[in-house]
Amino acid sequence: MLRTEHLSLAYGDKPVVDNVSLAIPEGGITCLLGPNGSGKSTLLKSFAGLLPPRSGQVFLDNRPVAQWDRRRLALRLAMLPQKPIVPVGIRVRDLIALGRFPHRKWWQRNLTTDDNVTIDAMAMTGVSDLAERPVEALSGGQQQRVWIAMALAQETDILLLDEPTTFLDWGYQLEVLELLSTLNRQHGLTVVMSLHDLNQAAQFADRVAVLADGQLDTIGSPAKVITESLVKRVFRVHTSITAGREGRPFCTGFAESAQSRPRQRPHCTTTY
C-alpha cells in the first residue's frame, strides 16, 4: 500500500516536509492534521506523485511512486485538489465522465461501460438529479459531491483529498465526511485527507497523522493521538478533551490569548 520512508520535500530551496516515515493503512480513513504550513498538502501531493522527493521515497505497492507510469498511477490513486477548477459551462455528467480518462487511450472517447461507471458514481454521491446541470450553478456542497463523484468514476482504490471541507458550511462539511465514510465502509475505499477540524478528524478517521513544522509529530488512532498535551504543543491551544461518541475524543479549545473567556457558551455535538 502507500507508505513513505524518510521522505523530505521542498519547493525550490524551501524545505517543507522533513524526514517523514509513515504507512497508510489499506481500507482505512487517514487524516493528516497540523497547523497551516505544516506540510499536509505537500505530503498529499507527494503521495500522488506530483512532487518529486528531495530525499527518501513514497512507495505504492513497494514501488517508488516516481517510477510509476502516470496513467497506471491514475488507475490506483485519485486526488481532489483543494480548489479544483470548474471548466466553463461543463455539465455535471460530462465533468464526472472526465474521471474515466485514464481508463481509455488518450484519443478514445468514452464507451458505454464508462457511461455506466459515471452513472453509478453519480448515484453513489447523490448527484444523479443534477446530471444535466452546469457545475458552476451548483452550491458548494453539491460541487464537492460532484468532484468526489469524478474521483469515484476514476475507479481507484485510494482517494486523496486536500482539505475537502474547507470552503463548505458546517452542514455540507459533515455531509461530505459522511459520504467519504460511507464509501470507505461500503466499497473499501482507502481515504487520505487533510483536515483542519480536530473533532471531525476524531469522529471520522481510523488513524490520524499529526504534522508540525514538516515533521511527523504523532501517528495513531484518534483516541491515542488527540490529547490535551499534543494540541497544546502543536496547535498552541488549551483544550479540555472529553470522551465523545464511541469513545472518540472531543476537544473544546481556547487560544492561548483567550484563556480568560467565560465558559458559558452553547455547545453542539454532531450526530451522524
Binding site: A48, R70, L73, P81, I85, P87, V88, I90, F101, R109
Partner: protein, 358 residues
Amino acid sequence: MTHPATTPNRASSPGSRPSGASPVARLFLAGGLGLAIVLVAGVQLGAINLSWAQVWAGLTGDGSEHVQRVIFELRLPRTLTGVLIGIHFALSGWLLQLLSRNPLAEAGILGISAGASLVAVVAFIIGDWLVSSTNPYDNTSFALQYLPLFAMAGGLVTALAVYFLGMRHGHLSPVKMTLTGAVIAGMLHALTTGALAFWGHAHTELVAQWLAGSLYGAEWQHLHTLLPWTLIGLASIALLVRPLEVMQLDDEHVCTLGLGLNRWRAFALLIATLLAASAVGVVGPVGFIGLLIPHISRRLAGANLPVQLVLCVLLGAVLAVLADLLGRTMFSPYEVPVGVVSAVLGVPFFLYLLSRQP
C-alpha cells in the same frame, strides 16, 4: 477531417434532454449555410458584380474568357484562401485559450503573430536584396512558399519564450503568460517597424499592406502553401480533443488523471503556433478572428469541445471571407485589408466581452 461532433455519452443523453442532438445539428447547419452564402458572395461580388448566370456559367466552364479569369484567377483563390486563414486563426486562438485557460489568449495578443511577422519581414527584405542584387529583373514576390516557414520559425521562438517566461514555480501562470506576451508583442512590433524603416524603403508599401493582414492578390499559390498546414492542424486537433477536455482542469488534477501535462500543453502550443504563423506568413497578421470566433463558439456550444471545434472552423471561415468581402466592396475601388475590417468588427465585441469578465 474533423472530429465527430457528438460523443457516445452525449449522444445517449436524449432521454434526459429531449432535443439533445438537434440544436447542435441546427448550429452546424446555420454555420454551413453562412459559409455557403459568403462563398457565393465572395465569387459574385467585387469591382464588377457578376450575375448569377455569369457565376454559374463561369463555374461550369461556359463563361466568357473575362468571367473565367475573374472567377478562377482572382475571386475563387482569394475567397478560398480567406476560408483557410479564417480556420487557421480561429483554431489557433481556440487552442491557445484552452491550453492557457485564459479567455483572452490569442496569437496576436501573445506575440506569436508579431514574432512571425518580424522574421517574415526580415526574411522578405534580405531575400529581396539577395535576389535583386543577383538578378535585378527577377524580384517578383520573393519565394512565397518560404515565407510561411520563416514566419513559423519566428512564431515558434516567440511562443516558446512566452511559454517559459509565463511559468511560475514550474506551472504555467495564465496571467503572467498573457502579460509577457503583450510586452513581447509590443517589442516585436517596434522591431518590425524599425526593420522596415531602415531597410524596407523599396517595399514599404507592399510590406505595410501585408502587415495590415491582406488577402489582396491571393492566388492559388497561397492556397497551396497553406492547405497542408490546415490539414495537419485539423488532424492533430482531432486527436487532441480528449486531452484538451481534461486540460481544462487544475494542473495537478490533470496530472492525477494520468495526463502528462507539459508534453500535451507543448504539443497544443506547437499546433496553435503553426496554424497562426503559417497564416501570418501568407496574408500577414490578421487579429481578432482568433479572439472572437472561439468566444462565439463557446457561447453557442457550451462546454462541448468537439462542437466548439466544428463551429470554430465554420465561423472562422465565415468571418474571414465576410471581412475581406466588406473590405474590398465597401469603398471600391479602394480596398480595406481584411485585418483592418476584422479588427473594426472585433474591437467592439472584445470590449463587450471585457466588460463582462467577472
